[in-house]
Structure formats: structure tokens, C-alpha cells
Subunit: 142 residues, 2 copies
Amino acid sequence: MLAIGTLAKRTGTKVQTIRYYEQIGLMPEPGRSEGGQRRYGPLELDRLAFIRHSRQLGFSLESIRELLDLSDSPERSCAQVDAVAQKHLHEVEARIARLEALRVELKRMIGECRADRVANCRILEVLRDHEECLSDHDRPGS
Amino acid sequence: MLAIGTLAKRTGTKVQTIRYYEQIGLMPEPGRSEGGQRRYGPLELDRLAFIRHSRQLGFSLESIRELLDLSDSPERSCAQVDAVAQKHLHEVEARIARLEALRVELKRMIGECRADRVANCRILEVLRDHEECLSDHDRPGS
DNA sequence: GCTTGAACCTACAGTGGCTGTAGCTCGTAT
DNA sequence: ATACGAGCTACAGCCACTGTAGGTTCAAGC
């Protein structure tokens, strides 16, 4: 039986985070010592490891909840598991695309500035003036 | 003189967001109509446009505050402006790198799964078992 | 001038995923 | 017996908003 601090160290989690997971129902309420301290077994260790690993892969706690539920019914088709993972992959790809566009525009903006004083700084000019921006968020017809 | 809703439309901002910016001191307290409603002039319009445009480029409100302060002293060197923008660019690049690594691992995981039932699902196996993961398990997150 | 209803007002709660703090109690080594 | 690290609960704070409730003001149409 592990104390919460030991479980935390084993899984690379903070103690407060484990209690938070319990609070939102992602981790079960564990047994307690006589004095009221949480005590964990191997099942809880596995579950927390699953959660942390999924978090490292960027899954939301909501998705992780779903994956945990699915893994409790081994006879079901794994299409749903696949769907959750695919959806997440698409979201990651969308975020990459957005950040890439951002990166290009930032680089362009920074590269254009040859001024030495704020009064002529290209960076501030670009930020001030929407027309100088390549993105078309509020141009007519976009 | 513009009402808050008009300002919101002009800048692509939500009304609540404008009030939020005022609350945290990013936008000044504007004049009021006789009945107590906010009324904005062209200066405020420009300032909000600057803020929104900077947000679109991913700058934090803290950085935007700094940029706004800097742009108020036109005689100063624009090195600091440059530094703020460079720092942000590096952060964006770091996030892209992390997401790219994530994408690769997700793809690999999804691509490996040939099972049809949850019991044999590779995706869940990878999530369960740290050893199958290429990434270091306890580096700082996000 | 009066009525309507959209737009405005304040104040506060909620989002996600934790993190930190205050002020206690518990467990264990010496 | 005592010290002290580790645990406990309860709550506030982070970022950048977003949404809600319940009331007031403004402008257009009659």
C-alpha cells in the first residue's frame, strides 16, 4: 500500500494533482489508513500511469475519461478508441498548422524591422495597422 | 462616439472581453453617456485594434501591456520591442516542436493498431505501458 | 409622447488543468 | 517523547475569456 507521495513520485505527478483527479472522479476514492491518510494499491498505480501518459500525449481529461471507460469493456470494438485518438491527432495537426502560420507572420514582422527607435519600429506598425497583416480574419469576403 | 457594441463589431471583439480588458487595466476607463453607458473615441478604437491584432499573433496580455507601454515612448530604442517579439517567436517555435513530437507519436500509435476489439487494442496498450512510449515520462509538461 | 425591444449595465460563476497557501493532523525515526 | 516530514481539508489563483441573472438605458417606430 502506497502513500500518496509515493504514488506521486512513481508516476511523476504532484500530490495535489492526484487529489484533484480524485475530486473530479477520474481517480477512485482510495482506502484510508487508520489516521485517515490515502493508501493506494497497484490498480490505482496503473490507472494513474495511464492518465499521466495520456496527458503527456496531449489528451484532455475528458478524452482520458472516455478511454478509461472503453478499456473497461474489453469485448467492445476498438473503433471508438481509434476515433478518440484520431480526433486528437487532427486537433494536434490543426494546432500545428495555426502555430506555423503564426510563426511565419512573426518572423516576417521581426525581419522587417530595421529601425532603432520605437517611433519607427516596424513591429509596432504592423501591430497597429491591420492592413499590413497577411491574415484575413476580418477582410471583406473572407 | 461609439457604444461598446459598435466597438466590439469594429474590432471583432466580444463586448464582455472589452469590459474585461478595462477591468484588468489594459483598456482605459472610457467616458460615459448620461445614462452611464460607455462611449468610445478613435484612440480607444486604435488601442483595442492593437490589442486584438497582437492577440491574433498569440501575444499574451502581459506582453501586449508591455508593447503598449513601449509604444507610448517613441524616443526609446526599439530593442525592447524586438526582444518581446523574439521571445514570443521562440515560444511559438518551442510549442510547434513539442506538438510535432506529439503528432509523430500519436500517428505511430494509431498506425500500429490492427485489432478490432478493445482487449487487443494497441492504442490502449501503448497508453497503459510506459515502456512502449518513446518520450521521457517525467519531463515538465506542456 | 409612448412603447417596444435590443443593447447596455453590474456582479459573479464557470471553463481546463492544475498549482499554491494556510492551518491543521498523522506517521515514523530517533 | 519529540521532532519533523508528509499528509489532511478548504479555498484562492492562474490565463483569457465566456456565460448568466436581473436590472437599466437608448433609439426607432407609431
